[in-house]
């Protein structure tokens, strides 16, 4: 009977719609409660916004330099008067990120073999490696920097160590996961020939994962350049120190100049790393 089939369909369709609508209403209610709670706790209300918005506009207005067309060169030179010093600090920031990425990835390279289920020499090694890298990547790098600044003194060194420790945690996980996805046939082959653990890793695993690792390392370097730029906020070197000084001492035009430098550097490094990554992946796909 077509009529009853239709009726059954209509009924179940209505039921389905009701269930969906109930879920949507429930979600919306939950959301409203969360939003209201957050607004109260975060002191987020129209009054503070109305008060804050003009201040913000004024602040942004002040950071913009006076650049006139007829004095373009002079005005730009005046705006970027600290360029030599800032460029040196930018280079320092990049070098910090480079060294931190190198140290962290070297650590992650070692820990990655122990943290992958298929390669680890013992189960307790696996759990230890996984927990250590989890701890290192969950504690924010800036917190490590705050603590290291007390232990090692002000300067880039504690910043580098903090970023390195964080990179070790983050890349330790990625490397271990890459290791778990390898083809195990070469490993078994070398084991059958009587190779020891180190030889097996070197000749069966490393050739398979090197392109993957390289791409992860490049990606980490991009992230670390951004992080190194803020390490100066806690006295751990790089361009951040100069930015904090400019913000705290109300050198408005310096703020915009330094920000532009940071954005330019970060984008250039992102573009360069992306090209390199594509080249690496392309080569991998060919072989």
């Amino acid at each position: 009977m077509p009529d009853t089939t239709l009726a059954v369909f209509e009924r179940s369709y209505a039921e389905l719609r009701r269930a969906r609508r109930a879920r949507t209403v429930l979600g919306l209610l939950l959301f409203v409660v969360l939003f209201a709670g957050s607004a109260v706790i975060g002191n987020f209300n129209p009054a503070t916004l109305v008060e804050g918005a003009p201040k913000l506009g004024e602040y942004v207005g002040r950071t913009l330099p006076k650049v006139r067309w007829d004095h373009l060169i002079e005005d730009l030179a005046y705006w970027f008067y600290g360029l030599p010093k800032w460029l040196d600090l930018m280079v320092e920031t990049i070098l910090m990120a480079y060294l931190a990425t190198l140290l962290g990835s070297a650590g992650a390279f070692m820990i990655g073999f122990f943290g992958s289920r298929n390669l680890t020499p013992a189960t307790w090694c696996y759990h230890l490696a996984r927990r250590v890298s989890e701890f290192f990547r969950t504690v924010p790098d800036l917190v490590f920097a705050l603590i290291f600044v007390f232990a090692f003194g002000l300067g880039p060194l504690p910043g580098i160590l903090a970023i390195a420790v964080h990179s070790l945690g983050a890349n330790g996980k990625l490397f271990a996961e890459a290791n778990e996805n390898i083809d195990m046939a070469p490993v078994e082959g070398l084991r059958a020939l009587g190779a020891n653990w180190v030889q097996t890793m070197r000749f069966a695993v490393v050739p398979q994962i090197l392109p993957n690792y390289a791409s992860y390392v490049l990606w980490r370097f991009e992230i670390n350049v951004r992080t190194a730029a803020v390490m100066g906020f806690v006295g751990a070197g790089g361009i951040g120190m100069e930015l904090v000084t400019a913000v705290r001492s109300l050198y408005y035009e310096d703020i915009s100049a330094i920000l532009i430098l940071i954005v330019l550097t970060v984008s250039l490094i992102d573009i360069g790393c992306e090209k390199l990554r594509h080249a690496l992946i392309g080569r991998e796909a060919l072989t």
């Binding site: 939003f35 706790i41 987020f44 910090m96 060294l99 003194g153 060194l157 009587g194 906020f233």
Partner: protein
């Protein structure tokens, strides 16, 4: 040593090596490039180590100091005002939630402007995309530092920092989801005479909304992590309490705060991961219907 199998004798290997040298060793050009690469790498690393004072004695002394601090971290203690700490933790969560939600609200229309298939004019699209790159290129902490100066100490600065930098990230993620949608429902609706608003409502939105929700939840997770440190520059939340304790050398309380941060982050990650799976799952179910 790796044992050599008996039926390949050394003389045979030598003969093959003489016949096909390139199969065993690299050519001179490649060897030279490798040599240059490794030397450059070594020089750069050496220069960095020298520039940043990585001397063994210095590192050793620092590690000694670090050991002293680590010993002072235990046992973790709540201190005299545990209420402050837990309130600050709630404040952190509130900052992350509001910042992410407001950013998502702005990012949705922006994403439609930045996606190739919904907005055909390349010049404004290019402008929107570069603007978003700029917002994303500045670290959240830098935005926080600036907003603290502009609107004063407290969570509002943190909310705005998360808001601004997340507009950039979410617009990118959202516009990628829009560009990856299945075109056929859209074509079908158009062919059956739907208006452009109807097409948007019944073919684009059902496909992208779950993706949007899932990306926003993911950013919420990430923002909880980053909101824990925004307080270091005075933008409210638990980071303020933490950096305060570290600067005053109250190591045991710092350790306690760190532990509750780690627990909170783990809980939020677990809940959000489950929610995201549920959302994406319900989308797949909706497709089947």
């Amino acid at each position: 040593m790796i044992a050599v199998q008996a039926d390949i004798d050394l003389a045979r290997i030598a003969a093959i090596r003489a016949r096909m040298p390139r199969a065993f060793t690299r050519g001179p050009g490649e060897r030279f490039a490798l040599w240059v690469g490794w030397t450059g790498f070594a020089l750069l690393t050496g220069y960095c180590l020298w520039r940043f004072n990585f001397s063994p004695v210095y590192l050793w002394n620092g590690l000694g100091e670090l050991g002293v601090i680590v010993r002072q971290l235990f046992p973790p203690s709540m201190g005299e005002a545990p209420g402050d700490i837990f309130y600050a933790l709630l404040e952190t969560l509130a900052m992350a939630f509001l910042g992410t939600f407001l950013a998502a609200a702005v990012a949705v229309p922006m994403a439609f402007l930045a996606a190739k298939n919904t907005f055909p004019f390349w010049l404004p699209r290019f402008g929107v995309r570069r603007l978003m790159d700029g917002l994303r290129g500045v670290d959240q902490l830098i935005w926080a530092l600036i907003f603290v100066r502009a609107v004063g100490l407290g969570p509002l600065a943190g909310i705005m920092a998360i808001f601004i930098s997340d507009i950039g990230t979410l617009t990118k993620l959202f516009s990628e989801s829009i560009e990856n949608i299945d075109r056929r429902p859209m074509e079908g609706l158009r062919a059956s005479g739907a208006s452009s608003v109807q097409t948007l409502r019944f073919s684009v939105l059902p496909q992208v909304l779950p993706m949007f929700l899932s990306s926003a939840l993911y950013m919420f997770e990430s923002n909880v992590r980053s909101a824990t440190i925004l307080g270091i520059v005075g933008a409210g939340g638990i980071g303020f309490q933490l950096s305060d304790r570290i600067r005053a050398h109250y190591w045991e309380e710092a350790c306690f705060i760190l532990i509750i941060i780690l627990i909170t982050v783990a809980c939020i990650d677990a809940v959000s991961k489950r929610l995201r799976l549920a959302i994406i799952g319900s989308k797949a179910g909706g497709r089947e219907l």
